[in-house]
Point group: C2
Chain length 363, copies 2
Amino acid sequence: MKKAFDLEALTRPHINALTPYQPGEQPQGSDWVKLNTNENPYPASPKVAAAIAAEVGKLRLYPEPFSLKLREAIGQRHGLDAANVIIGNGSDDILNLITTAFAKDPGVGHTVPSYSLYPVVVGMADSRMIDVPFSREMKLYPQDIAAAEASVFFLTSPNAPTGVGFSRSTIRAVLEAIDGFLVVDEAYIDYGGETAIPLLQEFKNLIVVRTFSKSYGLAGLRVGFAVAVPEVISMLDRVRDVYNVDRLAQAGALAAFEDEHYFSERRADVISTRGRVAETFAKWGWFTYPSQTNFLFTEPRKPGSGPDAATALSLFEHLKRSRILIRYFPKHPLTCTFIRVSIGTDEQMDRFLQATEQWMQNV
Amino acid sequence: MKKAFDLEALTRPHINALTPYQPGEQPQGSDWVKLNTNENPYPASPKVAAAIAAEVGKLRLYPEPFSLKLREAIGQRHGLDAANVIIGNGSDDILNLITTAFAKDPGVGHTVPSYSLYPVVVGMADSRMIDVPFSREMKLYPQDIAAAEASVFFLTSPNAPTGVGFSRSTIRAVLEAIDGFLVVDEAYIDYGGETAIPLLQEFKNLIVVRTFSKSYGLAGLRVGFAVAVPEVISMLDRVRDVYNVDRLAQAGALAAFEDEHYFSERRADVISTRGRVAETFAKWGWFTYPSQTNFLFTEPRKPGSGPDAATALSLFEHLKRSRILIRYFPKHPLTCTFIRVSIGTDEQMDRFLQATEQWMQNV
């Protein structure tokens, strides 16, 4: 006798229990000022379009399965070999490979708050998430991370949503104190942080993850990478889908990576705009964490009131009514009084600042 | 005291034990006749290039996370809703989502021989692979599948590497006999098989998987899809990376899907060439399974000798020396006396047939 269909019973228990990742809103209309998902306000290098056009005629053939040209170019830039590099369908793919391969008892650690995808990939691997809480100063204490005894520890540096980077000497102290993997997620490194990559010479349990989504302006193409010692890369390749990165993504990312001049100019533009906006926040008396990223995490207030969660939510909602999207994280005491605003073009930030001033005056 | 780095100890035991998928060779030079990975010998619809070019300017923005336009178009074509459809980074992505969500004790079943990726995704999910062996007649016996009591059963129809399709009534009999999921992998369905999709009206435990890699000529773009009841699709979405399909892949696949005229013509070309090659094999006295795919699985022999494994290997090696790549599967008694040859253009198949005749004469 055939049983009645019962989806919950057919699903693995840890998947039934999983809370999926909630991405920032992706409105598809063009009249929004979109400052909510840390995209680059500038388009990718113009060389990307040409590289993609040259590859379109070959789409009937499977991609080169190792993204080897990209591995070579990235390795060379960092004084490493292709064997030190793996390419992912976005860095999210790589985070998932890491937990698939290495998530073991007693669990996987992360600092709180940080990137909300970590608990999702840990949950998918049926492992336990170990929280290491930040205090408001957002300092990293290596002994706290060591005490977690995690099989893998995710550290975003510079951190999100705060924008605060951690020094190489601090990261070295973490590596000296732990036996599990330290995954340094450098999604925002190009905007001012100190990279952990040189520490690969000393530590085999270091994996540094990066993305083309932010500084290279290719969020829509889904390319990320990690560097580690070759034996770790080989293990990640073992769980990687052999055709995880399509032909256009391989070609487009390589073209963007090689156009260093364009990259540097757009990065400088974002850093310059970030400085101007941070100064305005300071002038208004708002506390803002020092940012080494393409966003600012700031605690809004109106004259004579705030900061508090109601104030932050009120600004978020006011801006949304003005068709300006920023990010608000209501669930944690260290984030609920803040807003996170991505750095857009000067024109976009002027529109954001004007709408915010209007909100401030409306007491 | 920090321990010495021990990668095996840091890796999950089932990943240490995993045998990775071995893709067919992907030579990047252009002088090969590549008949080894069932790619389409014809380029994708010319509308694909235009759709991709129109999207390149938006790459700084994350993709629409649900590939909604593709879900709608695919749903509509099959008399279903967008809620019945999920899009993957290739159908391999979807096979992985299925085992991530649904692989449970006593394990996941497949017929043997079939697609060699199934044991890999099952191994990654730390589940057990249950083999249901074919005999040489390659018939499907629903009671054998029911006896496996698998949580998920992978059935490729038409099958690979044989090319033999299974009727909808046989698949219905399987669905009536099992309580777990039946995943019908219809990678090759457009070349003549009978689709299982209408059975979704009756069976909630059916998942039909397809790909744009073969009949749409987009192996290099990595787009696959599955159809199922909405609650099953929702569960797969829960384990899907939210940005698994990039902007160019979404746009390119949609353009190919909507160009039905071009699709039909190229499909007819392949079917016509397949018939001609199969007739030649028959004339030579070779046994070939009746193919409903874009490849032929045939048992080569020379006048007065074979078929046997040495003969098949000898042809494979002769062709490789002639820079013609086909596929040879030495590991299974039902495959080791055969070769699998993808259907190329008429010109490519002439080169293949000529080289093969040369081999036959060289007794």
